[in-house]
């Protein structure tokens, strides 16, 4: 699934794209791209004139060349689009194959199963999948646990656990069960699975133009119309001045002036953008959502899983006066041996490393009883050899110790307060009536998260953290991660309310979610990314699905969205800036015969009028394939301030667009003269 840009020019893809660019010449399909449609009309006109000249036996060498280059201009544009489509289709094809071969064990009412093709499954069907079988369609696990290899979809080789209940019950058709047996409730009808959607997105027939693409196209149509009038009036004005300009030269000038570069590459930019998302393992339900992600200025993130690793970890033991750190560690470890929560395990880990007994198996003495954690006592521990070792929240331990006639030492009280103030969670360990010390549990930030959030800030996106923690803890984590804002002690509906509030102030909000209770918020957000492992409700409410279920992916999505828009803007600027040089190539060629003083405009010193027109039209044509890699890969995007980003792009594509064609046309002119084409 991972698209490697180095295989951009894979030969089989290239061959297919070349083949596909021919049928796209059909005016009935080409009219969807008005700029290229206009070029085709010009090409047809020029070709007819050339044919007339050939039949009449006139001088046709020049007109033939103009006609050929006009046709190539269209073919190059078609090729760009076909190549972009082909790359996406190649990936989709593999998936489609995997899916159509799958056999499903459909559960019948009487409890028996029948084997049917995956393509026959409908919403509401129940299927069984066990070791080694392919999950036939998208659905939710209603029963069982399985280790699933999702590499066919995500490219990620590490298998993932999927289980019934909770927020990790979603399975995708085409993935393989490695171990375990699950009963899956199919949630989609044929043709609506993720694979189908993925295939649909990369096939342009289903690709809707986004509003932004439409607006740009209107501008390009306007420019095209303007230049048609410019060229028609030019013919009249030249006639008034006693000059006759041949139709092929007029058409050449027109095509040079029309924004063919952007017009030709526009479809490819959009398709390639979706491909790039796909290569990040994100499926977008619409191009509009991708572009909107470039506009997002508020990102809502769950603390757990996005900003911090899933769980709190023990990072420090603070012994009470008269207790050694080792004693505290040993007792903390003992109290946590039976604690299978991540917090408990992290306490064991920390103790082991502190006591340098890492790797050794620690077992409690025979006859010990584990005291499990309950919501009422809010502590856990172990009774062994008459000792009662307990670990829990500071207030419950205090109560417990007091009830036995002990008391909380002052230094531990201070330690607990300071841990809480720093955003950590304090736990207290006691042995009978003795309080041994405190454990600092801390949220551990995910790798790179701080850097990513500061990148968000550079591009003007506010990050907002949502957490169930109390405000003090939340503030501490937010400060550590560099988060702009947070919502602490959030109730489930807090996300929806936060999004609505930001939207009312005019912000565009992105959010990532996986749980069913995220669905309303996802539906409300402007850009909503659901984890593929999440519930069906979440996936349906979202407009993008992250196959890797990696919440930090949102940042990549935002950058790809921006990249698509930047590429569009940069190539438009380049295309329009190119026109200046083409005037300087063609106008002296047309006018200087009758008015030699206008040769001052021939600043490129092009050899002859014919070579000048030819060079301009050749440059105009070949710049399209030369820019295909840029269109497919996207303009390099680096988070920086908007003004420096704009300055940079203006210099490269605006100023560059002014200068490059002067050089290019001059070089082509020299080549044309060398080959005696003029």
């Amino acid at each position: 699934m991972h698209i490697n840009t180095s295989n951009l020019w894979q030969s089989d893809l290239m061959k297919q794209a070349i083949k596909d660019s021919i049928p796209k010449l059909d005016p009935r399909t080409l009219w969807r791209n008005p700029v290229m449609f206009a070029v085709e009309m010009g090409a047809i006109l020029t070709t007819m004139i050339t044919a007339r000249d050939i039949i009449a036996g006139g001088n046709f060498g020049f007109d033939v060349q103009i006609s050929i280059w006009l046709w190539f201009t269209i073919l190059f544009a078609n090729f760009a689009e076909a190549l972009a489509e082909g790359r996406g289709r190649a990936q989709a094809e593999n998936l489609r194959q995997a899916r159509s071969e799958a056999i499903a064990n459909r559960l019948l009412n009487d409890g028996s199963t029948e084997q049917v093709s995956a393509l026959e499954l409908r919403k509401g069907d129940l299927v069984l999948a066990k070791d080694g079988e392919i999950i036939p369609s998208d659905g939710e696990i209603v029963n069982g646990v399985a280790l699933v290899d999702e590499s066919a979809i995500t490219g990620e080789s590490a298998p993932v656990v999927r289980e019934a209940g909770g927020d990790r019950c979603g399975v995708t058709g085409g993935t393989r069960v490695l171990s375990g047996q699950i009963k899956v409730n199919i949630t989609v009808d044929p043709g609506e699975t993720f694979l189908d959607k993925m295939i649909g997105m990369v096939e342009s027939a289903k690709r809707q133009k986004t509003p932004n693409e439409k607006a740009l196209e209107i501008m390009l149509i306007g420019l095209t119309g303007l230049f048609i009038v410019v060229v028609i009036s030019l013919e009249a004005f030249a006639g008034y001045m006693g000059l006759l300009v041949s139709v092929p030269v007029l058409v050449a000038l027109l095509v040079c002036l029309m924004p063919t570069t952007i017009g030709g590459l526009l479809p490819a930019i959009g398709i390639a953008g979706m491909d790039r998302l796909l290569s990040h393992n994100v499926i977008a339900m619409s191009g509009r959502a991708v572009e909107a992600s470039g506009d997002v200025d508020v990102v809502l993130m769950d603390k757990t899983g996005t900003i911090t690793l899933g769980n709190r970890m023990a990072t420090e033991f603070i012994p009470a006066v008269g207790v050694t750190r080792e004693e505290l560690a040993v007792n903390a470890m003992l109290s946590s041996l039976a604690d299978e929560t991540p917090e408990g395990r992290s306490i064991v880990d920390l103790s082991k490393s502190l006591l340098s007994i890492r790797g050794r198996d620690i077992r409690p003495a025979e006859g010990s009883t584990f005291i499990p954690f309950t919501a009422e006592t809010r502590m856990s521990g172990i009774d062994m050899g008459g000792r009662e070792i307990r670990k829990g929240a500071h207030d419950s331990i205090e109560e417990y110790v007091k009830s036995k006639g002990g008391k909380m030492p002052e230094d531990i009280r201070v330690a607990v307060d300071s841990i809480a103030k720093d955003g950590g969670t304090p736990l207290v360990v006691s042995d009978g009536i003795r309080v041994l010390g405190a454990i600092r549990l801390k949220d551990v930030l995910k790798e790179n998260i701080k850097e990513r959030i500061s990148r968000l800030r550079t591009v003007g996106i506010r990050s907002v953290m949502i957490t169930g923690d109390n405000p003090i803890t939340a503030a501490a984590i937010a400060a550590e991660a560099g988060i702009d804002d947070f919502i602490g002690q959030a109730r489930p509906e807090a996300k929806l309310e936060a999004i609505q509030k930001y939207q009312q102030d005019g912000h565009l909000v992105a959010m990532i979610g996986d749980g069913t209770n995220d669905a309303p918020a996802l539906a409300q957000a402007d850009v909503a990314v659901a984890m593929n492992a999440g519930t069906q409700a979440a996936r349906e409410a979202a407009n993008m699905v992250d196959l890797d279920s990696n919440p930090a992916k949102l940042l990549d999505i935002v950058e790809i969205g921006k990249q698509i828009l930047i590429t569009r803007g940069a190539l438009t600027t380049f295309s329009v800036a190119n026109d200046v040089s083409k005037y300087f190539a063609i106008l002296p060629a047309i006018f200087a015969i009758a008015y030699p003083s206008l040769n001052v405009l021939n600043i490129m010193q092009l050899a002859t009028p014919t070579s000048a027109v030819l060079s301009a039209i050749i440059f105009n044509a070949i710049i399209i394939p030369m820019l295909i890699p840029l269109a497919l890969r996207g303009v390099r995007y680096q988070p920086t301030s908007v003004t420096s980003l704009l300055t940079r792009n203006l210099l490269i594509y605006g100023l560059g667009g002014l200068i490059v064609p002067f050089v290019g046309i001059k070089m082509i002119d020299m080549l044309v003269v060398l080959l005696h084409l003029e």
Partner: protein
């Protein structure tokens, strides 16, 4: 520095000092806030509404607003037309002028209603005092007010959110006249009259010439028409030679006040925009863009004219200074300043012969008009035109920073783009097509007095003037023919309504959108980079559209002039 340049700097300095507070005043007037004139004018305004049955609190959708505007303009055209045809039977006609020829009357009616003031006729030989005052001067006020109203409606599109309405046309129109144009016109007219601009309803004066001949000296109610001629960027002169006539423009003071008058309101509107957006920096950026373009054109024109005419230079005449067609009472620099100002603002009043400028100066004047009169431009519509360019600029700029584009906090989507493209390109396209007709049809070529590139410039100038709603003439072209009266009238209509109507549509669409708050990810309008891009867009769009015809017209003429050929 020569005193002439001090004069230019001083005049523009005064303009700046006046434009900022005027802009804020305009913002207050149209936001319904209290101004120093409110106690005096508010009762009159209310009285006027009750008289005409206007409910000033009734808001209009853009379609209603546009319908009211069109209906008002159609009635105006009919009224001005009928007035010209009936002037022979009406009072205040001491010279006993008969009905105006139908095509001239149609052209004139459209011309004054569209704020163009293209004059195919010669005022003192055609129009009665009544026609001049009730028809033309009244339209000078109303057409300017219509433009200002439209601009205010467009600004409302940006500052309002989640609403379908953009104001009340009748209220905006009334306030433009009452609070803005009338007070300023009274001041200007009094100063003009004090400087010797004639103001009388009496008949033309007969004078004895030194060689015992009899000369009839045309006079009339000039000062009152002259003030609004500039303040409303109308430009229609009382006399045929416009402000080159000593009765219309007697002294250097009136000359400078005329320049100041035509720039004042148009230059204030960007500041009004800033005040209404509650973001003065954005208004300043629009103003700065206009000023940069203005100074660039002025620089080229001054450079061209002060360099002189190489042919005269060879003859050893006047150091080569090209004084032909200049207002010698004022000199070269003030005449060029006047010409630059009258072409950028769509005023069209002249104090010299534009036909007689050197080719490159002519090129600058043509460019000013052909890009759609957006460098200050006509009152109201100039700002509108610049907003079209700003929409294009921000669309591309927005893409290049990776955001779906926005301007002043409003997202730019297909519906805005269609309207901006129409508003920007329809006048240019019409200009080129009408000029094409003129050089192809015998009826068009028949009127030409000059051949070659200069003749082409004259034709282009005529249609640029019409489509830009400027009204100034290059002369050298007999425009009072059925062909030119009809084609320029069409150009004027397109230039006016293909600007105002799309702008109102944009306002209607924008008013319904929410306002995107400014953040670090927003491209700042109040930034030099925006000014550079906006100026660049205006120049590039203009150059790409008109480069071929400029090459065949003024540029070729310039080349041939260097080689010793004239036309």
């Amino acid at each position: 520095m020569s005193p002439e340049f001090v004069y230019v700097a001083l005049l523009l300095g005064v303009l700046l000092v006046l434009a900022v507070p005027t802009g804020r005043y305009i913002a207050k007037v149209f936001s319904g806030e209290r101004t120093p004139l409110t106690p005096l004018l508010r009762p009159i305004e209310k009285r006027f509404y009750s008289l005409l049955g206007i409910d000033e609190n009734k808001e209009m959708s853009w379609k209603t607003y546009a319908s009211a505007l069109i209906a008002f303009n159609i009635l105006s055209v009919i009224a001005v037309f009928l007035l010209q045809e009936a002037q022979g039977w009406l009072p205040l006609n001491p010279q006993g002028f008969g009905p105006v020829r139908w095509d001239t009357a149609v052209n004139t009616a459209i011309s004054f209603v569209t704020n163009t003031n293209w004059q195919a006729y010669s005022g003192e030989q055609t129009m009665s005092y009544l026609t001049q005052m009730l028809g033309l001067t009244v339209q000078n006020f109303l057409s300017g007010a219509v433009g200002i109203a439209a601009a205010i409606a467009v600004i409302r599109g940006f500052i309002r959110k989640n609403t379908a309405t953009i104001g009340n046309f009748w209220v905006d129109l009334t306030r433009s006249v009452l609070y803005l144009l009338l007070p300023l016109a009274i001041i200007w007219a009094l100063v003009f009259a004090s400087q010797g601009v004639v103001q009388t309803l009496g008949p033309y004066v007969a004078a004895q010439t030194p060689d015992s001949g009899e000369q009839l000296i045309a006079v009339g109610p000039t000062a009152s028409q002259d003030a609004i001629k500039f303040l409303g960027t109308n430009g229609g002169g009382f006399f045929n030679v416009n402000s080159a006539h000593p009765f219309e423009n007697p002294t250097p003071l009136t000359d400078s006040l005329q320049v100041l008058g035509m720039l004042l309101i148009a230059a204030s509107l960007p500041f009004a925009l800033g005040a209404m957006l509650k973001n003065r920096g954005q208004g300043r950026a629009i103003f700065a863009s206009m000023m940069v373009l203005y100074l660039a054109g002025l620089g080229v024109a001054l450079w061209s004219e002060t360099n002189g005419n190489p042919l005269l230079d060879h003859l050893g005449v006047a150091g080569g200074i090209n004084l032909e067609g200049k207002e010698t009472r004022f000199g070269i620099v003030p005449t060029v300043l006047f010409a630059e100002s009258t072409t950028v603002t769509s005023d069209g009043g002249v104090d010299g012969m534009h036909d007689s400028f050197l080719p490159l100066t002519g090129l600058v004047l043509l460019f000013n008009m052909a890009i759609g009169e957006v460098i200050f431009g006509g009152v109201g519509v100039g700002l509108i035109g610049m907003i079209f360019y700003a929409i294009m600029t921000m669309f591309i700029a927005g893409l290049m920073i990776g955001r779906t584009p926005e301007l002043f906090g409003k997202k730019l989507e297909p519906s805005e783009m269609i309207m901006a493209v129409i508003g920007l390109l329809a006048p240019s396209v019409t200009l080129l097509l009408l000029a094409t007709l003129a050089v192809v049809l015998p009826a068009g070529l028949f009127s030409l007095n000059n051949a070659g590139p200069h003749g082409l410039s004259e034709i282009i100038y005529a249609f640029a003037s019409a489509c830009g709603n400027n009204g100034s003439a290059f002369a050298g072209l007999n425009a009072n023919t059925i062909f030119y009266n009809m084609t320029t009238a069409l150009g004027m209509l397109v230039g006016r309504f293909a600007t105002i109507l799309p702008a109102l549509a944009i306002a209607g669409s924008l008013a319904q959108k929410k306002i995107v708050p400014f953040s670090a990810a927003t491209l700042p309008v109040a930034h030099p980079l925006f000014v550079v891009m906006l100026v660049g867009t205006v120049i590039i769009v203009g150059a790409l559209t008109f480069f071929p015809v400029f090459v065949l017209g003024p540029i070729l003429e310039h080349m041939l002039l260097g080689a010793g050929r004239t036309f």
